[in-house]
């Protein structure tokens, strides 16, 4: 069989993934491989100041001395970091003032994804910083946000335009030396978002970025930084879809949040990277470092995530509760089907007094997948009256999948009250029978039960996301019930 035939067959076989398509846009690519020259190239392409380049090189040198972590409960062939293109940008990049200037093909891509920018602009009141293959193409509503003093745009732009803010905050929550993938990201990140909410401002709309991996063989290294000044509020949405690929693609993002006194950041994610086909071929490796710092008193950071995609997910959105009375929240639904593997959870580090954290994690495993919750609750010696409530439930669909729970509780202060609960169950035949009786098909019945099971988390999502999440869940679990 010729290779084209094979490809055709594969394409046909892999049709389940709705968003699997490639847009032909000329891309400006760096050669494969990673070395200091590539980093210099990225930095110069991004027109970055000297300090940024130094920062990247420092991270890279650190990365060279680090070892890939092996502790997650996931298995995958070793990643060849020299076989990745670290920079690729749509060639049509120019300063854009309106949507008309955007490459029509890119716009069509967004339309296929169901994210019509123009519609959203008018309808949803969502400012979209659309990241297309690592470079921001269009930023909407920027002017309106600007009036309020809110800075929202790509991080590369921010490095050029707001060097003081960037210098102060980048790497302050996730230092470049934090872990293997954070170091890699710090060295090679090509884009991402930056949001700055000034003192006392309540951001009037949900800030949103859609990420999309396009060109083949490019790892996506995004870096997001959100700073909420005293008394401000922001809700940030992050959603991803990726086209179908046969080679595994690496995604190693870093997200840093900083909340100062009385500030609140709400960060919601829907992750739907390509998960590989039924045999586990292809799919994205999603190795992400996300951490929020509740720096000020009464600050609050809330993570909500719906993880349905990726061949391998490896992420632990964390909260460092440094300010007194600060609050950290983590709501998560992680779905794995076929041969997907997920090792996800959170870390709540209580350092200030009267800090509170809530963890609600719902894992659903189907097919031959493995779903792991791994969470840490640490109460520091000086953190008086810390309070934590954790609940992690696992739902198993089918008898060839695995659900794992690894909670770590490290309590160094007697005034802490920490609770952890976990259950594992399956969808009962009686429940399905009850719904069958009422005229629902097996698949609808399962969807209904699963959606009910995840309700606690979906409730935390902004409306548009909640609707999308429910749809996503049913697509992800398609074919899991016999």
């Amino acid at each position: 069989m010729s290779s084209t035939e094979v490809n055709e067959i594969e394409e046909l076989a892999n049709q389940e993934y709705k968003y699997g398509f490639v847009t032909d846009v000329e891309t400006d690519e760096a050669p494969k491989g990673l070395n200091e020259d590539i980093i210099r190239l990225i930095s110069s392409k991004k027109q970055e100041p000297e300090w940024m380049l130094e920062w990247r090189l420092k991270a890279f040198r650190q990365w060279l001395t680090m070892k890939e972590p092996k502790w997650p409960n996931v298995e995958y062939p070793p990643v060849d970091f020299q076989d990745i293109i670290y920079y690729s940008a749509p060639k049509t990049i120019k300063k854009l003032n309106s949507l008309d200037e955007v490459d029509p093909e890119i716009l069509a891509t967004f339309n296929k994804l169901g994210i019509p920018i123009e519609e959203q602009k008018a309808l949803a009141g969502v400012a979209v910083d659309a990241v297309f293959d690592s470079v921001s193409v269009a930023t909407t509503y920027k002017e309106k946000l600007k009036e309020m003093g809110i800075i929202f745009g790509s991080i590369s732009e921010a490095i050029r335009e707001h060097p003081d803010l960037l210098k102060k905050y980048i790497g302050s929550v996730v230092p470049p030396t934090d872990n293997y993938y954070a170091a890699l990201n710090s060295a090679v990140f090509t884009d991402g978002s930056f949001a700055y909410i000034p003192k006392g401002v309540r951001c009037p709309m949900e800030l949103s970025t859609y990420f999309r991996i396009n060109a083949s063989n490019t790892g996506q290294f995004e870096r997001t930084l959100i700073v909420a000044e005293e008394g401000s509020y922001v809700s940030y949405l992050e959603g991803c879809t990726a086209p179908q690929r046969d080679e595994n693609q690496l995604h190693a993002a870093v997200v840093e949040l900083v909340a100062l006194d009385n500030a609140e950041i709400k960060y919601s994610t829907i992750q739907n990277w390509y998960a590989g086909d039924k045999e586990g071929k292809g799919g994205i490796y999603n190795f992400v470092t996300k951490r929020g710092l509740c720096k000020g008193v009464n600050s609050k950071i809330s993570w909500t995530q719906v993880e349905t995609g990726s061949a391998i997910t490896w992420k632990y959105p964390s909260c460092v509760l440094q300010g007194d009375n600060s609050t950290g929240e983590f709501y998560s639904v992680a779905v794995t089907n076929n041969l997907q593997q997920a090792d996800t959870g959170t870390k709540m580090i209580h350092l200030g007094n009267n800090t509170k954290s809530t963890i609600v994690s719902k894992g659903i495993s189907a097919g031959r997948s493995n779903n792991t919750y791994r969470g840490l609750v640490r109460v520091g010696k000086k953190a008086k009256s810390a309070r934590n409530y954790s609940q992690c439930d696992s739902l198993l669909i089918g008898d060839r999948c695995g659900a794992h729970t690894f909670p770590y509780l490290e309590i160094n202060n007697p005034t802490a009250t920490v609770e952890h609960e976990a259950t594992t169950s399956k969808i009962g035949e009686d429940q399905i029978f009850y719904l069958n009786q009422r005229g629902l098909s097996n698949e609808d019945a399962v969807n209904m039960i699963v959606n009910g099971y995840c309700k606690e988390v979906f409730r935390e999502l902004p409306m548009e996301f909640a609707v999308e999440a429910q749809k996503l869940l049913s697509v992800s679990l398609e074919g899991s019930v016999g």
Partner: protein, 435 residues
């Protein structure tokens, strides 16, 4: 460099001791020791970088030079009196500084259907059960401390309960140390309960003085079909000593194993307890209580392996930590792919009494079957202010009120012991420890 010293030193001790053995050197029992020494030397000494030892730093143990020459027995009956009560009701098996003391022990041949001897003797007598089961638990492989134990077992203890025999008396295995500065003792117990056998077993480890020793024990228990084993472990080493115990239980179908693991003593105390089901409809109860103060570190690792369907497990570990003590609980429930209809409950509750005490708890579930009911929970807290207020409002002083509440918390497990005098003895001991 200390690490290699630890191993090298023990290797030298082993070889020196071997020269002094006469005929024993060629015995089968000694061949097992020799093989275990090879394993011990090939394994890496764990550090806090190993997940299983993340919270327990054992450099105080591995950095020390231990002697393995067991001295001749010296403790008199008078000192042991405190461990003996109702001699008629129990069969005591006493080991002083690692050696079986016949003078202090009861008549080992007195129970019908029960064979008690040292493992060494059992091998000489070619006891088929001893040969079949000794050092055969797969989980002991790769465990450096188990390998260390196997290579230094002096005599070991073999208990065999015959088919359908209900042991007339509870067995009390008493390990005591005296004048044991820098002594490493390697207690080894092999307990085989044949089909339908029933046994009450109490295992205790104590120091009679304040000398610093290392107890590195291994207990293997086989519960055959329909067998029932009730097991109590009492660890009350002195606070200068170190204690490591690997307890491995294998359960065949319809068997029932219950344990209560009480840890009160030692500077560093680590227990690895694991049970695995090899037959359906079995049940295991793993309970534990740890009370620590001062700078003690008490670490309990448990593992329940549901390898077959239709088994049940219950686990409740409670801790009371004061002073600058540290507690570690790491409980794992594994439900394998075909272990449908499993029912597993795991709980860990800890009370922290002081600012400096700390607990690291990690209750884990690994589930590969879908038709199961598994829950786990962990709580860490302090005495409830409301309960304290309630008692104080009734004229009870702060001190007493606290002590009532803590005792009630701990007693929840101890009052489940069916042997009345054992329960009273332990209750008294625990309330003394808590006051």
């Amino acid at each position: 460099m200390e690490k290699t010293d630890f191993k090298e030193l023990l290797k030298t001790s082993f070889l020196t001791a071997e020269v002094g053995m006469n005929g024993e050197r060629m015995s089968e029992f000694h061949q097992i020791r020799k093989a275990a020494l090879e394993d011990f030397l090939s394994l890496r000494v764990p550090t806090v970088k190993d997940e299983e030892w993340k919270y327990t730093n054992i450099t105080p143990i591995t950095g020390k030079k231990f002697t393995t020459d067991l001295p001749a027995a010296s403790a008199g009956i008078a000192e042991l009196q405190k461990f003996f009560f109702n001699i008629d009701k129990y069969l005591n098996i006493v080991f002083v500084n690692g050696r079986l003391n016949h003078e202090l022990s009861g008549d080992l041949a007195s129970l019908e259907g029960v064979t008690i001897s040292t493992i060494k003797e059992a091998f000489v007598a070619k006891n088929p059960a001893a040969e079949r089961y000794y050092n055969k638990t797969a989980e002991l492989k790769g465990n450096i401390f188990a390998a260390l134990n196997t290579s230094f077992v002096a005599e070991g203890l073999f208990i065999h309960i015959g088919k359908n025999v209900a042991a007339e008396k509870p067995l009390r295995i008493i390990y005591v140390q005296k004048n044991a500065e820098n002594l490493m003792v390697s207690p080894r117990n092999l307990i085989v309960a044949e089909k339908g056998a029933t046994l009450d077993l109490i295992e205790s480890y104590s120091g009679l003085d304040q000398t610093s020793s290392l107890t590195n024990a291994v207990t293997e228990i086989y519960a055959s079909e329909n067998a029932q084993v009730n097991h109590i472990i009492v660890q009350e080493e002195n606070h200068n000593s170190y204690y490591i115990n690997n307890i491995e239980i294998t359960q065949e179908g319809n068997s029932n194993y219950k344990s209560l693991n009480i840890a009160l003593g030692s500077a560093i105390g680590r227990t690895n307890m694991s049970t695995r089901f090899t037959g359906q409809n079995s049940e295991a109860t793993l309970n534990g209580l740890f009370i620590a103060g001062g700078t003690q570190l008490i670490d309990n690792h448990t593992m329940i392996d549901h390898a077959v369907p239709h088994c049940q497990s219950h686990e409740l570990y409670k801790g009371v930590l004061g002073g600058k003590s540290r507690g570690v609980f790491n409980g794992k429930v594994m439900v394998r792919q075909d272990a449908q209809k499993t029912n597993a409950i795991q709980e860990n509750k800890t009370i922290l009494l002081s600012e400096e005490a700390l607990i690291d708890t990690k209750p884990q579930l690994e589930i590969f079957a879908d038709d199961v009911k598994c829950t786990h929970g962990a709580t860490v807290g302090q005495l409830s202010e409301e309960s304290l207020f309630y008692l104080k409002a009734r004229g009870i002083g702060d001190q007493l009120a606290r002590s009532i509440l803590i005792n009630a918390f701990a007693d929840d497990l101890v009052n489940r012991i069916k042997l009345e005098d054992m329960r009273n003895y332990l209750e008294a001991k625990i309330s003394a420890r808590l006051s």
